[in-house]
Amino acid sequence: MNMIELENVSKIFYPGKIPAIALQDVSLQVQAGEFLVVAGASGSGKSTLLNLIGLMDEPTIGKIIIDSVESNHKKEKELTHLRRNYLGFIFQSFHLIPTLTVFENVEHPLRNIERDIYKRRQMVETALNDVALLDYMQRYPNEISGGQQQRVSIARAFAKNPAIVLADEPTANLDFANGVSILQLMEKMNRQKKVTFILASHDPEILSMSHRQILLKDGKIMKDTSAKKGGDYEK
């Protein structure tokens, strides 16, 4: 079953007089539960692709279908609703809210999803347990390390049991050891929770992982390893 489908998607930005083509005629299908790595150099369109799938932006041309629901021309309210219920995000610079504790950060996006505080507390604790941060739940983001902060944001993304989690360069702000452990954690979460996972990166460590990879170059898919096995594309 396809969780995500892109049909001939192009995205053009108009930052000044000259339009910038960020994505060009991209078609893509991602299976439910799949772990997809979006590779490519800086400026190749990875973030743009994730933002479109994350319903934070609209394609200039083409269709995006999430769980058989076409997202084009939806009202802001419906998009908010879809993001709230379908999507989890992991950002390069974590984007934790500094005034909230670890617990509250994970709880914050759940407020509109689970109204019962006991059930919600249970969800938060399960998520924090999954990333091994239960002991840190009363700390504030500035009281824990970068790697721990990214683990909090993983817990935050997975806590609501979303259908899709999107991670844009999640290891770029971390050192090698932390990056590796974050990767392993994300793989584990993808396996355990059966969540469709899309990870954008130009980190060689990630690119060596044996998952389906697509390579973007100047907004076009240059290579998709789904046909073959393993991550054996050439640069």
């Binding site: 993001r83 999507l87 509250e104 914050h108 996006p109």
Partner: protein, 417 residues
């Protein structure tokens, strides 16, 4: 059910905690904003409490020294050229009404007055006077501040009270004699000899120069008839004003007396005008103060949104609605308004009794030669008003930035470094 109420309570508590922490993120800026709100609240409370003192003072004075609570006069008197010879009440009528009023337990005392104008002076100097003549015992209760000598007394039917300014002008002192002349209704000139029994001190020098207080018998001697302009009724319970007015009205009707009843509020229109003028001045100050507050809050909110641009983007990406973003910024404005206003009110609560205890004075007001005391009379209505005005202002000032914050493009916010 219990669970749901608990959940709502917890969410509300969590929300308020979140808002307060957000407000506190940039302490310096928040303190400046809340200080401006506190100053605004303080200004509003002080000005209104000051005007309240004035209002109450004017009203008390108007009742005690000028009008009584209820006045009764001949039909047309209140509308007409007040103190002319027409529209007078005969002594019989005055006595009838006075007796009726005195029967009522809510009535403290009753006076009746006749107003006359003429010339008063010594052999050497003279001046115009306006005489207020009433029952001496009642006039003693209504008298302005006595500077020298004694108040009017029934035992001294020709002892009068003149103003300090008039005494200076005529060069007379306590115990000295004066001659008073008036033209009577029939056109003749009458004169009597009176004695300065007391010298009073009034707020307005104009009043001191011309107004004299004299026993009603001496006025009757000058007028050659026994009649009165108005009956003044003083209540021991001002709250009963309407009730007593009605009783007197009914009595007048029943006895077919061609009289009219007025309350002091109907007569003392000038108080409304004076207080209204001051309130207009407060409005001007308030508008300026609140423009400053609005500017301050908008600025603070814009900066807060700017600083939290990426955070808002992340929250929106994860499913927070526009409404939630608007709500949280409006709440920030509201709480800044609340804390600022409470601080201003707390300062006012300490400051006002302190300033009152210092007995400070302002320079004399227009037409007066006495300094104006600085006294504050606070009331819960004034505090509540200031609180509501500030909350509304803070809330109102936050609407625009909050809407702006909610409309950011998520991808721009997330790309923003």
């Amino acid at each position: 059910m219990k669970n749901r109420i608990l959940s709502i309570a917890c969410d509300l508590f969590g929300f308020i905690k979140f808002i307060v922490k957000n407000i506190w993120r940039n302490r310096r800026r928040t303190i400046i904003t809340m200080a401006s709100i506190a100053v605004g609240t303080l200004t509003l409370v002080l000005l209104q409490s000051y005007v309240q003192t004035m209002d109450m003072g004017l009203k008390a004075d108007a009742v005690q020294k000028q009008f009584g609570h209820i006045q009764i006069a001949a039909n047309g008197y209140f509308e007409g050229d007040e103190n002319s010879g027409e529209h007078m009440m005969s002594l019989d009528v005055v006595n009838l009404v006075t007796e009726k009023a005195m029967e009522l337990k809510q009535v403290d005392f009753v006076n009746n007055r006749v107003h006359l104008t003429g010339i008063i002076g010594t052999q050497k100097k003279s001046t115009i006077f306006m005489g207020i003549s009433g029952i001496p015992e009642a006039e003693a209760l209504m008298a302005p501040t006595l500077l020298k000598g004694k108040l009017l007394s029934a035992s001294d039917p020709y002892g009068i009270m003149i103003g300090n300014a008039m005494a200076k002008k005529l060069g007379v002192d306590i115990g000295e004699s004066l001659i008073a002349f008036v033209s009577t209704a029939s056109g003749s000139q009458e004169a009597i000899s009176v004695k300065v029994r007391g010298i009073y001190d009034a707020l307005m020098p104009e009043q001191e120069k011309v107004i004299i207080y004299m026993p009603i018998n001496s006025a009757w001697d000058l007028m050659l008839e026994k009649s009165s302009h108005r009956i003044l009724i003083f209540l021991n319970d001002p709250a009963k004003l309407d009730q007593i007015s009605q009783i007197m009205q009914d009595f007048i009707q029943k006895n077919n007396l061609h009289l009219e009843v007025r309350s002091w509020e109907q007569l003392a229109v000038f108080i409304k005008q004076i207080v209204g003028m001051f309130q207009g001045m407060i409005m001007v100050v308030a508008v300026i103060v609140f423009l400053v507050i609005i500017f301050n809050i908008q600025n603070t909110m814009h900066m807060a949104i700017h600083e939290r641009f990426r955070e808002i983007g992340a929250m929106r990406a994860m499913g927070s609605s526009r409404m939630e973003i608007v709500r949280s910024f409006l709440a920030e404005g509201f709480f800044m308004g609340l804390f600022g206003a409470l601080a201003g009110m707390a300062i006012a609560l300490v400051l006002m009794p302190y300033i009152n205890s210092l007995h400070l004075n302002l320079p004399p007001g227009p037409g007066s030669d006495k300094p104006t005391p600085i006294m504050f009379t606070a009331s819960s209505a004034i505090f509540l008003h200031a609180l509501l005005v500030n909350l509304f202002t803070a809330f109102f000032a936050s609407i625009f930035p909050a809407l702006k914050g909610s409309k950011i493009k998520i991808i721009d916010a997330l790309r923003y470094v």
